[in-house]
Amino acid sequence: MESLIIFFQQLINGLSLGSIYALIALGYTMVYGIVMLINFAHGDVLMVGAYTGFYILHAMGPSPHALALSFIASMIVCAVAGVTIERFAYRPLRSAPRLNSLITAIAVSLILQNGMRVLPFVGPNPRQFPTMPTVNFQLGHIGISNIQVVVIVVSIALMLVLNYIINWTKVGKAMRAVSFDMRAASLMGISVNRVVAFTFALGSVLAAAGGILFATAYPQIDPTMGAMPGLKAFVAAVLGGIGSVPGAMLGGYILGVAETMTKGFISSQFADAISFSILIVILLVKPTGIMGTKVRVKV
């Protein structure tokens, strides 16, 4: 009975953590699906989003209105940042060897981290993220906090919107086409550059939301805060099959639940190691991730 309560409690914690991972993982997977680039700067876009939210919440105080405003503002800031990064760092390298874009992505990540560190009004020191007072709802023996409710509801709403954009709008169709075959799509009159820029904007918007939610759940922010959730979300994206949108969502939830379960039942120190071990085991059984498609190699 005791362990059953822990199980359900950790399941709720895991769903909340997993929603954040899923949001961030979507950015990785969409960008990878289209330009085959592991965008290592994605975690740092998340950090930029969290800082934008921090300044708005700091100025207005942690009310629901301010939270909504901070979501919108940080989404705009991150979308602009994402498009700028794509335009100046990745686009010139699109036809270069893939490892070059990878190094560039790492360099962009360093620039964002260290840039925030030298900015006089940000600085390297960690800051307390203003959050609403926590209220716990009790469902029998299991508690769920208002923050967890916000995290889960906001992320699911955003994922539904994303799903709508990808599957039912014209630009979503264009994204799928470019992801399927970039050259053929461009021959069909799709502006590849515009679609790629839009994909980066979309991914960055989700990262911004993920950043604020992550900072609300773990209320301390600093310029390197994006690295670990970024890495975990990337693992989630690979787990689900990188390039697959539903895969990224599934991978995010699996990773989140696995991590909290490890914390609840095994050891909190080994939680990171466990999530990476799960990744390795799943890739050994299914080398392209859970929902990834196998690419057939032709001679």
Partner: protein, 328 residues
């Protein structure tokens, strides 16, 4: 000239290698190179060994890895344990560290080398992070997250450190240049160029990928086992993803597959990071900008696939312009 080309090349390369090891050591000994500069360049030597290790697996074997620093950490901690707890002499401890790293490479490589491309990169990334967590939690052996101190003669005297580390670097380069020209080396290169073509010519892809992986792990273990006694302090962060990325940057900047390119890039970039110190914290901003600029304007890296050859330099210096050497 009566000396044959072979003997001449041997004398030439031997001379360059000996000079690279002994002359700076002498200058350090008599104080012409101060301890600070000596330390930077000796550290660059270790970075160069690591860069070679990443180059073997990523540049030569063609398998992208993001966890090579994990093997370095294994080498470092094994070396510390064997010399502090088991009281082995340092050279033996370094060798043990390298062998442990190579064995770990064998164990990790067995399941993972069947994966390809980005998936392999991710699994090696995960491996490095798992190792980091394990090292943090094995407090008795590793000293936990705060790290472990380890003082030896390498940390105390700069000239001996230079001779040992640069000597190892030179030995590694010689070993690898010969390895790459052997049957094994050629087979590994063919796997990089085209797996299917290599396989249909009777080359076991997995076997040669594994060979490359184990050799790379061994070299990384050597680098780690030298790093620990030289710096005198090891933290589990040594195995982290950021470290692995640093070494990958040397390889890409030096030119994938070019051993001398990696060595050159390791020295240039290690020095550059120190040189930029006058910019204070802006240094951290300039370094990635330089990386992006190199990627944009010289995508193949400093040397591309070519090797810097002292023999070729010698020929160009001694022979008049226009008279091309026909023999090679």
């Amino acid at each position: 000239m009566t000396v044959s080309v072979k003997t001449r090349n041997f004398i030439l390369l031997g001379g360059v290698a000996l000079a690279a090891v002994l002359v700076p050591a002498l200058l350090i000994k008599i104080g012409l190179i101060d301890a600070y500069t000596a330390q930077i360049f000796t550290l660059a030597g270790i970075n160069a060994i690591m860069a070679i290790s990443v180059n073997i697996i990523t540049g030569v074997t063609g398998q992208l890895t993001l966890g090579q620093a994990g093997f370095m950490a294994i080498g470092a901690y094994t070396c510390i344990w064997f010399s502090q707890v088991a009281h082995l002499p340092l050279p033996l401890a370094v060798l043990t560290g390298a062998l442990f790293a190579a064995f770990a490479g064998f164990l990790i490589g067995f399941p993972t080398l069947k994966l390809s491309g980005d998936y392999l990169a991710i699994v090696t990334l995960g491996f490095g992070e798992i190792l980091r967590v394990v090292f943090v939690n094995l407090k008795d052996i590793t000293g936990g997250a705060n790290g472990k101190r380890f003082t030896t003669i390498l940390a105390a005297s700069a000239d001996i450190a230079w001779i040992v580390i640069i000597g190892t670097l030179v030995a590694t380069i010689i070993f690898l240049q010969n390895f790459l020209r052997s049957t094994y080396g050629r087979a590994i290169l063919s796997v990089r160029e085209d797996e299917i073509a290599a396989n249909s010519n009777g080359i076991g892809i997995f076997k040669y990928k594994m060979t490359g992986f184990v050799v790379a792990a061994f070299v990384a273990g050597v680098a780690g086992a030298l790093y620990a006694p030289f710096i005198g302090f090891v933290k589990p962060d040594l195995a982290s993803f950021n470290r692995s990325v640093d070494y990958l940057i040397y390889v890409v900047l030096g030119g994938m597959g070019s051993i001398t390119g990696s060595v050159l890039a390791a020295f240039v970039l290690t020095y550059l990071q120190e040189f930029l110190r006058f910019l204070k914290e802006y240094r951290l901003l300039i370094y990635p900008v330089i990386l992006i600029l190199v990627m944009l304007f010289r995508p193949q890296g400093l040397l591309g696939m070519k090797e810097l050859s002292f023999v070729r330099v010698w020929q160009r210096l001694t022979q008049p312009k226009g008279a091309k050497n026909g023999s090679k």
